[in-house]
Symmetry: C2
Subunit: 244 residues, 2 copies
DNA sequence: GTGATACATATCATCCTACAACTTATTTCG
DNA sequence: CGAAATAAGTTGTAGGATGATATGTATCAC
């Protein structure tokens, strides 16, 4: 808990601020792919920080594949396709439209993954999923514990696909949505009343136990559309609505 | 081109090596969430590098949300759910099983996204997609240019969904697969003979023009399964095979 | 004049030292 | 015994020095 709060309200360290500034400049197109960044010394003077700070910032951008530094020449902006990491701007999560986009992405990922999980889940997987389901228990309101259990439920299903990348991606997207909801609740306390729907989860679990991919996919899709609705996001998934 | 080669054969910088080492230690579970990392001084002695190098490595892990550093105390490993970035280990891409997993993830993402794109694409989107299609042109073999055009084709479709996150995720996964195939071709030259199937692309494009989500999804799914087969990966997608 | 070599310059990579800011444990003193 | 002062340990930042690498410039032999 202490860890989570610290992670959300992270102190703005100097290298982080410099990295964010440069990153925004690249994203916004002020620095096009191929362009050369100012030298480390110029940057350190411009921001009024030491060269060490600038180097740590550049090291981060380089690790993400946003820039490439070449000894003796300089640092250059790389094309977006060459990114080595997906990083989502926390600030952007405060925008409701982005929360909607995340829910849409989540629906795409989890619906079909649920079908995979139904086909591949082992006994051990089912036990883990059941344990998470029980932890949600009688709690009808979204307390922190219930949210944790809910996310664990989804992660365990993703794990049951046997595909580690699917697990990673779904975990990541779910966590971004958690943050997005967290921000939304701060600005609009009404969201505190949002309920957690146990029935939807049970239907997903039953489909997994039965090993019925189509049912699992439908149940998962219905659940995510429902979850989105409960936080005020109406998913405009043409396929989801039409295919049911 | 020069950029891409440089990006692939990136020189192993010291901070990168330290970061990779620590990252592996965390992934493997030798350093559990909550555990404290050795001090910067201890690490610099252990690796025989300066504290500066250690700091750059830690800055990267911190930016990824893998660890949290607290002034005056130390650095601590965070839970996997708190990751702020998705980063895929390039080494792991050399494993064919991982290429298979990536194709599976790609299929999930792109199939349904194609349906969304069919419902939402604008005239301008169609033009961009058509341009990429034309660039693939008569080339029947996978030259670098054709691969670029192919990836652009897929990226433009993802963009036509209007969901920037979907675009980001699909671009990223496709790029990882490109690297994976690149490695596979180095160890097994036979893969040089892999062909690009223009017909599959045309069918996708036609469905997008027609604004037919179901057809677009089916065509995209068939295409990705086909593309996987052509590089020697048989996709075990239960749903994909059954639903057609 | 031309070409090759040597030199100077610019930049990133790494190292080193020092100090500030923060946390924790210990000691000291009322 | 309790509270404040002190000391020690750790990360954050600053600044300079040196090595490695790429590029441009000048010099010199022919």
């Amino acid at each position: 808990m202490k860890q989570r709060l610290a992670a959300i309200g992270t102190v703005e360290t100097l290298p982080h601020r410099v990295a964010t500034f440069l990153s925004r400049e690249i994203e916004s197109g002020e620095l096009n792919p191929g362009a050369r960044l100012p030298t480390e010394q110029e940057l350190s003077e411009k921001f009024g920080v030491s060269r060490n700070v600038v180097r740590e910032a550049i090291a981060q951008l380089r690790a993400d594949g946003m820039i490439e530094a070449r000894q003796g020449i300089g640092a250059f902006v790389l094309a977006p396709e060459q990114r080595a990491a997906i990083r989502i701007d926390r600030e952007a999560l405060k925008d409701t439209h982005n929360m909607e986009r995340l829910f849409e992405l989540r629906c795409i990922l989890e619906a079909e993954s649920a079908a995979l999980a139904a086909a591949r889940r082992s006994k051990e997987h089912l036990d883990s999923i059941k344990a998470a389901l029980d932890r949600m228990g009688g709690e009808e309101r979204w307390e922190e514990g219930s949210i944790d259990a809910d996310l664990l439920f989804h992660r365990e299903i993703a794990r049951a696909t046997g595909n580690s990348y699917i697990h990673t991606f779904i975990s990541f997207v779910c966590e971004q949505i958690r943050h997005s909801i967290h921000y939304a609740r701060m600005t609009n306390p009404l969201h505190d009343l949002v309920e957690i729907n146990v029935g939807e989860h049970v239907r997903i679990y039953d489909a997994l136990v039965a090993g019925d991919p189509a049912a699992a996919e439908a149940a998962m899709r219905a659940h995510i559309v429902g979850a989105a609705n409960r936080v005020g996001v109406r998913l405009p998934l043409s396929k989801a609505n039409g295919a049911k």
